[in-house]
């Protein structure tokens, strides 16, 4: 056993200490302000710790826990996202006063679960981390304040937990197959043992079922049913969390799992392709009809999960790195939309698209944030959404998936319409009698940070892409040479398929 390295585990320790502190605070009465402060300090401390531990590499807990560039980069993303979400959610206007400290506690625990998730390389640890990240969310959804005619949060919470448990059940079932086939729960070992039998129906069934739990987190069609309802039913702040961080976690774990199917598993590729196509079309087409902004984001989230899957279809390092880059960008883009929702919403009620009318007069900064976020989601350069799509499509096309790429682009064109409808309300309409919106400093900071992030990741993505790419290469679970050889940062690794695909 390797000696325990404190530095390697520092970010998790910091956030767990923060959670403990929040637990103590939540025991008292009327501690909202203190809890908020404690959560924010925890977030900043975690961010600092993640930054400090970026270069760490270690294997902890008898090989169940691996700290590498891959996990550390994602922990940094989680910590950053955590801080942003705290900035976005402000004073939690729509959470019952008596449970606000608990809300912060659950939020912190959920993020800590995600941080452990990306380091888990053992099925058991992974499941535990996954549940630690998921269960607080199930509780946070119904914490929304009850008011006249608003009890939808209960229904949403039930839907969320029922679908979640069902998806988990399916995932466990799949994992049992994988365990049965390989006799181990340690992922790197599983990879080597699975390889000889990776074409067998049992292995494919095991993998496909295991993916289901992650599809659920990522809201991939047809595991998406909870998405719009939970977005609508949960308070704006909770929805911003549900919509962002768990998706990064899901993509990260998917990277670990899909490499079990690498380098070349036709069935898995076909499955991923179909799910990607289904998600994109379903999400984009239904989003066209939405009136509620959160529901719209929910359906667009389904479509974006589909885009992320396009990267997985490539089944190589470039594709995985692209998917991670995209989903990290998605975090910023969707938070940019949610900060607008949280601030436009009066007293925490849901925001219809019409409520955005004249935002450019009511709050210019919010309008700019919204425009940047929405145009980025639509994939317009120079924002991160465009660079993300470019990397995804390049990766998929390099492997000859021309039809999928064209379908993805058609979907991007469809999506432009409903994103433009949002911009139309915010920029081209008169506010009428709607009052101006005053922004407090956390909201301003969140807006500026998000705009900068979306622009910077879009204009200067070189370093992020580079580190994601190397981290994915290293995260291939100590894979045998075949995987790495196949996924060498290949220039034009497959010029032939494209040519032949183009030939009718």
């Amino acid at each position: 056993m390797t000696p325990f390295k404190l530095m390697a585990f520092l970010p998790e320790l910091v956030i767990l200490a923060g959670a403990l502190a929040l637990f103590v605070i939540s025991l008292g009465h009327e501690q909202c302000g203190r809890a908020r402060l404690a959560a924010f300090v925890t977030a900043l401390a975690t961010l600092a710790a993640s930054l400090a531990c970026l270069g760490q590499e270690a294997t902890l807990f008898d090989g169940a826990y691996r700290v590498d560039l891959f996990s550390q980069l994602l922990k940094l993303a989680f910590a950053g996202g955590f801080a942003l979400i705290l900035l976005v959610s402000g004073g939690l206007p729509d959470i019952r006063n008596d449970v606000k400290p608990e809300y912060y506690l659950l939020l912190t625990i959920s993020v800590s679960g995600l941080m452990m998730l990306v380091s888990s390389v053992d099925l058991i640890t992974l499941v535990v981390a996954l549940e630690v990240s998921a269960f607080p969310l199930y509780l946070m959804v119904p914490m929304r304040r009850e008011r006249n005619g608003q009890r939808v949060q209960m229904e949403s919470a039930i839907k969320y937990i029922m679908f979640g448990v069902a998806a988990n059940g399916v995932m466990f079932f799949g994992m049992s197959y994988l365990f049965g086939l390989t006799g181990t729960t340690v992922l790197p070992e599983m990879l080597t043992r699975l390889e000889p039998v990776s074409g067998s129906p049992l292995a494919i069934a095991g993998l496909a079922l295991t993916f289901c739990g992650l599809y659920y987190k990522l809201a991939v069609f047809p595991f998406h049913f909870w998405t719009p309802d939970v977005y609508e039913g949960a308070s704006n702040e909770t929805a911003s969390l549900v919509a962002s961080l768990p998706k990064i976690g899901a993509v990260a774990v998917l990277v670990r799992f899909v490499s079990l199917a690498a380098p070349d598993n036709r069935t898995v590729v076909l499955l991923l392709t179909l799910l990607a196509i289904g998600s994109m079309f379903y999400g984009n087409l239904i989003a066209l009809m939405q009136k509620d902004f959160k529901r719209l984001l929910g359906f667009s989230g389904i479509a974006h999960a589909g885009y992320a899957l396009v990267g997985f279809v490539a089944l190589d390092q470039a594709g995985f790195a692209a998917a991670l880059y995209y989903i990290i960008g998605y975090l910023l883009m969707v938070l940019a939309c949610f900060v607008v929702i949280c601030k436009v919403s009066r007293d925490g009620v849901n925001v219809a698209i019409e409520d955005l009318a004249g935002l450019h007069r009511r709050a210019p900064l919010l309008a700019v944030t919204l425009a940047v976020g929405v145009f980025a989601l639509a994939g317009i350069p120079p924002f991160v959404g465009f660079m993300g799509k470019l990397t995804l499509l390049s990766a998929a096309l390099a492997k000859g998936h021309l039809a999928l790429v064209i379908i993805a682009m058609i979907n991007a064109a469809i999506a432009v319409y409903y994103y433009l409808c949002v911009v139309r309300e915010a920029w081209f309409r008169d506010p009428g009698a709607l009052p101006p919106i005053r922004l407090d400093w956390p909201a301003r900071a969140a807006c500026l940070l998000l705009i900068t992030g979306i622009l910077a990741l879009g204009v200067a993505p070189a370093r992020v892409l580079q580190s994601l790419s190397t981290s994915v290469a290293k995260a291939q679970l100590g894979a045998p040479g075949t995987v790495l050889a196949d996924t060498n940062p290949g220039e034009r690794s497959a010029p032939q398929p494209v040519g032949s695909a183009l030939a009718p």
């Binding site: 145009f375 390049s394 432009v416 139309r424 070189a462 580079q466 220039e491």
Partner: protein, 513 residues
Amino acid sequence: MSFPGYNDSVLSLLIFGPLLAAALAMFLRSDNLLRGWTLVSTSALAVFSLPLYWRFDPSTADFQFEVNLPWIPVLKIHYALGIDGISLLLVLLTTLIMPLCVLASWRYITTRVKEFMICLLIMESAMVGVFCALDFILFFVFWEAMLIPMALLIGIWGGPRKVYAALKFFIYTMAGSVFLLVAIIAIFIKVGSFSIPEIMGHSQSFSLNFQRWIFLAFFISFAIKVPMFPFHTWLPAAHVEAPTAGSVLLASILLKMGTYGFLRFSLPMTPDATLFFTPYILWLSVAAILYGGLTALAQTDLKKLVAYSSVAHMGFATLGIFALNKAGLEGAVLVMINHGITTGALFIVVGIIYERLHTRELAQTAGMGKHMPVFATFAGVFALSSLAFPGTNSFIGEFLVLAGGFEVSRSLMIFVVPGVVLAAAYMLRMLQKIAYGGTANPDHSRVPDLGLREIVTLAPLLVFVFWIGLHPEPFTRVMHASVQNVIQQTQGRAAPAAPSVAVLPDATVFPTP
């Protein structure tokens, strides 16, 4: 005019200068200060861009003033800039027309001046970027980034149906460019580079089939931008609703990007496919000329009239490009420049009318010229230029295009001639109404004639109308080598079998219906 490093930095400065000016504009408070600042900064950039012309070496078709820095090494994307004889003229057109746009919006834009000026400056940056980019992704970034400020220009400061027009413009253009992106990635996977000169060099290795698909993807994107018949439907809506400066930018610069795309990408990168599709595109061009002319003839709204005349003029440009001979291509580039000058001026003229009468109905404007002699003179010259009157700029361009076209196919050109006559018909109809009207003109006696600002706005355009019209050599001189190069790249491969399309008999090139 000699400062160190001009050649290395000029293009980057022309791209980032406007962004810098926009960033500074954010801190300005007073509207007049903002107008002044934008005018000064765009004028400074215009002056700064002028030495490009003298320092440009017209004897070579190579890209000049090149910059090449790695931007995103993982994806092999470079920050690569450079211009040849074709883009030189378009860059200069862009930088020179910007101050005029600011002047034309001086009184027209009264609300949200700061945002308007920032949008204009961002537009300038993106437009110059499109013409300078030598990396496909960089090109695409500028190409797409332009949509946002343009849609805002139309959607916020536009006319009554501005929202509809802005959305239509955005969605139409965006829908076209998604295929462009797929084509770019497909080429990258073949060639392993996004570098435009490098891809041009590789075009010989593309199979005909591959070329055809790429050509079609390019075509959808560029044809929407030009816009070619039948992809033009967004144009009248966008032109009519846009504010004056928006219309001018749209007509003078944005439409050129489509034809520039054909010249820069379609022809050199997919030469075989170009030869394959040429006949169809030539017929589409003729359709655009006739359709644009006939529709313009039926308009009663001045802006719509000018907008449809744009469709016809751009038909000449695509006709010249796909004539694939020297006269045709040089004519096409001249038509692009001329259309930028003349139609830009006509939109400013319409804007001046609208500022005074708050209507653009032809019937309401009847007889304005009687009380506004200076205005009538300007309007008259620009209208004559638009119908390609000899001695004005458009005559040279359209004459060259027609000459190039006749080399290709006489049967085709028979259909173009009515288009030329139509241009005279709709422009003279407009001019007659504005300048003289009839016996029952509305009372315009209290409408003031042009002020100094408006004269300053229109005068430079007037100079260019006659300069190009009477002495086009300085303008054609810089593009000879580049145009020759495009022809070579397009026809070089077909050379052994058929030395030039131009000398082929009609029957082989045109599957006559």
